[in-house]
Amino acid sequence: MMTYKDYGYALVVVLFLGVGWEISAQIVNKPFILPSPSGIAMKVWELRSLLILEHLPPTLTVILISLFLSTIFGVGLAIMMYLYKTVEKALYPLMITSQTIPIIALAPIFVLWFGYSLWSKAAVAVLFTFFPITVNTFDGLRTSRKESRELLLTMGATQKDIFFKLDVPSALPQFFSGLKVAVPLSVIGAAIGEWLGAQAGLGYFSRRMMTQFDGAGIFAPIVILSLVGIVIFSIVVWMEKRILIWRKEI
């Protein structure tokens, strides 16, 4: 368990960096290139209703949809690869290859397919997030022990019994690791998706500010994006702790 003391160290580093940044920004004194943290904070406050009411909802929708889709798709694929060797052989190399493609370069294709709708952004984000979920879940399924499987067999267990009583619980910790990696990736994916074309969204807003040379305006939505990532991550950690209560240290 992390205690306030553990967070304390990180806080000191953040403060240290923040102060350093603030001082350098004051010295450089070109806020359109290097906005100061205080300038960014003021910008967030100034734009709060615009950012949160207008640009957060579409981005959050893309993030949540992409996490949902890649969980369904990733877990489904992992299960298929685990149950059928042929599927594993056919799809595993393909899946690895999909990760060697620069997704940012591929994103315009999605715009061609799905237009400037929510789905083109979700597709980009899913391409980022399904991989860690699939690989972790697949590896998790494979951690179930042969000895336990045989023991269940001697009790008369069916393949279904073994899958639900042994394989699935064995895979859960790994699945959560994958999901935790996927959360920040979904935020990145959504922002990149919006860069390519959107009418609203935090990524879109950030990019629009770039054309206006508004340094603080670029960072303001990024702060919100980062907070969104932290909140969703914390929710996943909370779920993980509740579901994997048996792992808790005594």
């Binding site: 000895e147 023991l151 067999l153 001697t154 009790m155 008369g156 019994d161 009583k165 048996w246």
Partner: protein, 251 residues
């Protein structure tokens, strides 16, 4: 005659080229406590894999309570060397796995496990997780689980080998006491001669491969037993003989 709980009828078995069992026949009566003694790699575990149904004999048949089953899964209770408790399940949930598999309703299964916890020295542990229990207690949960699966033929595969010496002695006495109350048929794999002498009605010794017969060694002391019964001259001689055998085999 009490009838056979387990019978091997001319069983032959091997992995690939290597022949392990050749035309092997033996019987275990209902309510007997049998130890199977043999050096490492002598085929003890293979015998258990055949009985549980994890392996099928090449030739011959295996009857449990006089019946040949096409599929022996679920017919005997198997207690493996490691406890293999599922860490995400509480003790109660671990104990009820065989009942779940048999299709018993959860509530009923829980009630059944709860009624046994005290007898197995696990009172108050139902809601705990395996990591919270000591090695000896985990083995008791494993034993409880085995007694709930299948008929009352129990296969115990070196269940105490991973325990420390004191816990091991304690668990042997506890097992003997449990058996004297329930009189289930027990097959107990071990390579510990004094453990086999203390627990069993007779010892079956595995010889060289391929195994064509099991050497039967009856234990000449009655029941209930105390550990000091092992100190009689007769028992000490028997122990010497058995140890000598394994010494020779090991060469």
């Amino acid at each position: 005659m009490r009838g056979a709980a387990l019978e091997f009828q001319k069983v032959s078995f091997g992995y690939g080229e290597e022949q392990l069992l050749d035309n092997l026949s033996f019987r275990v009566q209902k309510g007997e406590f049998i130890s199977i003694l043999g050096a490492s790699g002598s085929g003890k575990t293979t015998l258990f894999r055949l009985i549980t149904g994890l392996e099928e004999p090449g030739r011959g048949g295996i009857a449990i309570h006089g019946q040949m089953h096409a599929n022996r899964f679920g017919e005997v209770g198997y207690m493996p060397q490691q406890d293999l408790l599922l860490p995400w399940r509480t003790i109660r949930e671990n104990g009820r796995i065989p009942l779940e598999i048999q299709g018993t309703a959860k509530k009923e299964a829980d009630a059944k496990v709860d009624s046994l916890l005290k007898t197995f020295g696990l009172a108050g542990c139902g809601g705990m997780y395996p990591r919270e229990l000591s090695g000896g207690m985990r083995q008791r949960v494993s034993f409880l689980r085995a007694t709930l699966s299948g008929s009352n033929v129990l296969l115990l595969d070196e269940p105490f080998s991973a325990l420390d010496a004191m816990t091991k002695l304690h668990m042997q006495e506890w097992l003997l006491q449990r058996w004297e109350e329930e009189r289930q048929t027990v097959l107990f794999i071990t390579h510990d001669v004094s453990e086999a002498l203390f627990l069993s009605d007779r010892i079956m010794v595995l010889g060289e491969k391929p195994i064509t017969q099991l050497e039967d060694v009856p234990i000449p002391i009655g029941r209930p037993r105390k550990r000091r019964d092992l100190a009689t001259k007769e028992m000490v001689c028997l122990q010497e003989q058995l140890l000598e055998r394994f010494h020779v085999d090991a060469k």
